[in-house]
């Protein structure tokens, strides 16, 4: 029996492990499939991490190192190169590595911190051939930053998420020509600072409401045809433009990696593709917690660390049987303009931070929270909300004292 097993040694897993330790748990094991701790931060060599959490600007590997050092100092055991194959509802974990073969661990509590993966080109359905030279932006990032290979010289990027923007700059600095970043939506999902410092600094055009409609080339990519799209995101005939290129990078979204959560019987949220959790980041299965990008995709690693501290602390309280708060069951609903909230259910009467994401860019909005009796229990004005920027509010316990349900609604003024 191991008291706490954490699946994943990226920023979420490390931060959760440290928080659990600081809250009294000593019997912790981190399982990580890579050869090193740090997760995706290892390949995010650009800076901008840690401003919120540490008040200084760090690169990804530096941010990861801060947590890795803590894990080492506290002597928290880590199994690297270890792939978890299955988790049962009773918290029996089956894993494998070169040293131990296939082995099982009975855990008292589990924290899911597996992160997310990139949406693949298969999910995109672009007509044309399937030549070499098409990569997800994260794969190209790993080639350039970890392995020292350049995937190509003449580049088009589809999707303006942050990884795509960061790779536009990275490829340019390494001598490639980035011809365009195409974005299906009329706005970028990336941070404005990245549009400024990754595209504008290098005069890389950002083509909003554009997509790739055809891929050309047999063995190696020779070019792509891009076209403008209408409001329904359908390509407009006559707007096609051919761009010769040898590389197409896809930065078209991230999906939480929840195969193991499913095998454990954890209920998933259709919108986030992550677990349904309460304010403690406990899933529908008692004693199984989730945090970081496996729960919902975050914009900043600083927020991943914060969320994972909640999960680590809550797992510790669960293991030690310390949680004495009064139990309730209040589902949190959204109106569609607000796409989702985390947590999706409130189970304790205490002040709670609720994180949420909106469906579109809206200006001059009021964020309203109503209870099941249509009484407004929270209201705050904001100048602008955007899908690329996660929002959060703090709900005082008094606000939902008598609620059976909470409704998050966005009023556009």
């Amino acid at each position: 029996m191991t008291e706490l097993v954490i699946i994943g040694g990226g920023p979420a897993g490390m931060s959760a492990a440290v928080a659990a330790y600081e809250n009294g748990i000593r019997d912790i094991l981190i399982l990580e499939r890579d050869k090193a701790l740090g997760g995706i931060l290892q390949q995010c060599i650009h800076n901008g991490f840690g401003l919120h959490k540490f008040g200084e600007e760090l690169t990804g590997p530096e941010y990861a190192w801060k947590y890795e050092q803590k894990v080492q100092e506290l002597g928290i055991p880590v199994k690297l190169g270890t792939m978890v194959l299955d988790i049962t509802e009773d918290k029996v974990i089956t894993a494998t590595n070169e040293e131990d073969g296939i082995f099982q661990i009975q855990a008292k509590a589990v924290i899911l911190a597996m992160g997310c993966r990139e949406r693949s080109k298969g999910a995109l359905n672009i007509p044309g051939t399937r030549p070499a030279g098409i990569y997800s932006a994260g794969t190209a990032q790993k080639y350039v930053n970890r392995m020292g290979y350049m995937p190509g010289k003449e580049v088009v990027i589809l999707g303006s998420g942050d990884i795509g923007l960061i790779m536009a700059r990275r490829m340019t600095l390494e001598g490639a020509k980035v011809h365009a970043v195409c974005e299906l939506m009329p706005y970028s999902g990336g941070l404005v600072r990245n549009i400024e410092q990754c595209l504008n600094d290098f005069n890389i055009p950002l083509k909003l409401s554009h997509t790739v409609v055809k891929i050309h080339g047999r063995e190696r990519l020779e070019g792509v045809t891009i076209a403008k799209v209408d409001e329904r995101r359908k390509p407009i005939a006559g707007t096609e433009e051919y761009i010769p290129c040898d590389t197409l990078l896809l930065s078209v979204g991230l999906i939480p990696e929840n195969e193991l959560s499913k095998s454990a019987g954890v209920s998933l949220d259709r919108i986030t593709s992550g677990a349904v959790v309460d304010q403690n980041r406990q899933t529908s299965v008692e004693g199984i917690f989730a945090c970081g990008n496996v729960l919902h995709v975050h914009d900043l690693v600083d927020y991943v660390s914060e969320e994972s501290e909640i999960a680590g602390k809550s797992a510790a309280e669960y293991i030690l049987g310390q949680n004495q708060a009064e139990k309730v069951h209040i589902p949190v609903k959204t109106d569609g303009k607000i796409r989702y909230t985390v947590p999706q259910v409130i189970t304790e009467k205490k002040d709670i931070s609720v994180f949420f994401r909106v469906a579109d860019i809206y200006h001059n909005v009021t964020i309203n929270v109503y209870d099941d009796k249509q009484e407004k229990v929270f209201s705050r004005k904001k100048l602008k909300v955007a899908p690329g920027e996660m929002e959060s509010i703090v709900l005082k316990s008094a606000a939902f004292e008598n609620a059976a349900e909470l409704h998050f609604e966005l009023e556009v003024n």
Binding site: H46, G60, L173, V192, R193, E196
Partner: protein, 113 residues
């Protein structure tokens, strides 16, 4: 003259309005913190950027590096040339200087190897 900028100092990305007279910044609005004013002044008079990249080690692998302070934006590609012609000697610890004196900064390691 008025210039509109997006502050890149932190992920908040404030939209700045900068009033410039005779090549000097006279007012900055839209910033949420004092760093926005400094950024606007630098950006209008002498834009600076931190470079992050990788350096080849003697054993063939690459390690991540950064300039330990921003360098002039106009020197970014020259800085990349210096980074790409350097070789790092193992072992390397975070913060070790890999190349000294690169446009007023040092190129330092951001990972251990």
């Amino acid at each position: 003259m008025t210039r509109e900028l997006t502050c890149i100092i932190c992920p908040r990305g404030c939209g700045l309005k900068v009033e410039i007279e005779d090549g000097k910044v006279v007012s900055v609005t839209g910033n949420s913190c004092p760093r926005g004013v400094k950024y606007a002044e630098d950006e209008c008079c002498n834009p600076m950027r931190t470079i992050t990249s990788t350096v080849r080690c003697e054993d063939g692998r690459v390690i991540s590096v950064k300039t330990d302070r921003p360098i002039p934006k106009a020197k970014m590609f020259e800085c990349m040339k210096m980074i790409n012609s350097a070789t790092a000697h193992l072992p390397i610890h975070i913060g070790d200087v890999i190349i000294e004196d690169v446009f007023g900064s040092n190129v330092v390691a951001t990972e251990n190897a």
